[in-house]
Amino acid sequence: MMHPVIPYVIAALLFGLGVYGVLTRRNAVLLLMAVELILNAVNLVLVTADTTVRAALPHTGGVFALFVIVLAAAEVGVGLAIVLQLYRLRQSVQVDEVPLSYEERLGEAAGSGEAVPLDGDTWSSNARTASPWSVEVIP
C-alpha cells in the first residue's frame, strides 16, 4: 500500500528545479547537471506509473526508465564533447557568451579582445569571409 501522489509530487518538484537550473545557470557543465535532474524526474514518473497503472504489458515503466538512462548517458557524452570543444575554442564555457548571430560574432571579432579564442588570427580572418560558421572538413 502506498499513496502514488507522493512520488508524483516529488517528480514534479524535481522537474521544476531542473527547469530553473537550465534557465539560470551560465556554466555549461552546471546546465548539463540540471538537464540530468529533469531526466531523472521523468524516470521517477515512469517508475511510479509502472506501479499505479495496470498496463497490459507488465514492467513497461521500468523498461522505459532504463531506456531513458541509456539515452541520458549518450546525451551527457556528446554534450561534454561539445562543452570541451567550446572551451577549447573560447577558453570559457559560459553559455550566454556564445554569439548566436552573424552580427554579434562580427562585432565581437572586431571589438575588444575579451573573449578571443586560442587562435585569434583565424577567428578574425574568418569573420571577413562569407559564412562565419564554415568548418573545413579535414581530409
Binding site: M2, P7, I10, Y20, T52, H59, V78, I82, D96, E136
Partner: protein, 169 residues
C-alpha cells in the same frame, strides 16, 4: 501513512533538497557532489517502488559514470574550485518558469490522484525486466544500441582537436 509512504517522503525530501542545492550552490564541484546525493536518494525511491533493477542501474550509470564524467568536465574546463559569484544570470525568469512548471505539474498530479492508494507491484528484478525487454521491447533495445554507437562516434569526432584548429580557415 504506511512504511513505504514514510520512506518515500524522507527520500523525496533528501532528493528535492539536494536538487535545490545542485541548482543554487556557488561552487561547481559541490554541485556535482550534491547531484550524487540527489541521484542516490532517487535510487532509494526506485527501490521503495519495487523497481529493483532500475535502482541498481541508476547507481551504476548515473552515480558511477555520469557524475564522474561531469566532474571530469569540471576539471578539464578549469572551473574555479572556490566560491564563484558569476554562475547565475538573473533569477526571475528561471524562478517564474521553473516554479510555474514544477508547482503546476504538482497541482495537476495532486488533483488527479488525490489521496488514493495503490498496492505496490511485485518486484521488478532483473528477470522480469529482462523478459520484458527481450520479449516486448527488442526493437527499441537494438535501436538504442545503434544510438549509443552513433553517440560514441559523434563524441569522438566532435572532440577531435584538429576540428577546432581549422575552424573558418
Amino acid at each position: 501513512m504506511t512504511t513505504a509512504d514514510v520512506l518515500m517522503l524522507a527520500l523525496g525530501a533528501v532528493a528535492v533538497g539536494a536538487a535545490a542545492a545542485v541548482v543554487t550552490t556557488r561552487q561547481i564541484v559541490r554541485a556535482g557532489l550534491w547531484l550524487v546525493v540527489a541521484l542516490g536518494s532517487l535510487a532509494g525511491l526506485y527501490l521503495v517502488l519495487s523497481a529493483e533493477l532500475v535502482a541498481w542501474v541508476q547507481v551504476l550509470i548515473y552515480v558511477g559514470a555520469v557524475v564522474v564524467l561531469l566532474l571530469f568536465a569540471v576539471m578539464l574546463t578549469r572551473a574555479p574550485i572556490g566560491v564563484s559569484e558569476d554562475l547565475d544570470r538573473s533569477r526571475w525568469p528561471g524562478l517564474l518558469i521553473g516554479g510555474g512548471a514544477g508547482l503546476g505539474l504538482a497541482a495537476l498530479l495532486i488533483d488527479a490522484y488525490q489521496w488514493s492508494t495503490v498496492d505496490l507491484a511485485d518486484g521488478a528484478g532483473a528477470e522480469e525486466v529482462g523478459a520484458a525487454i527481450f520479449r516486448s521491447w527488442v526493437l527499441p533495445f537494438e535501436v538504442l544500441s545503434v544510438l549509443l554507437l552513433a553517440a560514441l562516434v559523434g563524441a569522438i569526432v566532435i572532440s577531435r582537436p584538429d576540428v577546432s584548429a581549422r575552424v573558418g580557415r
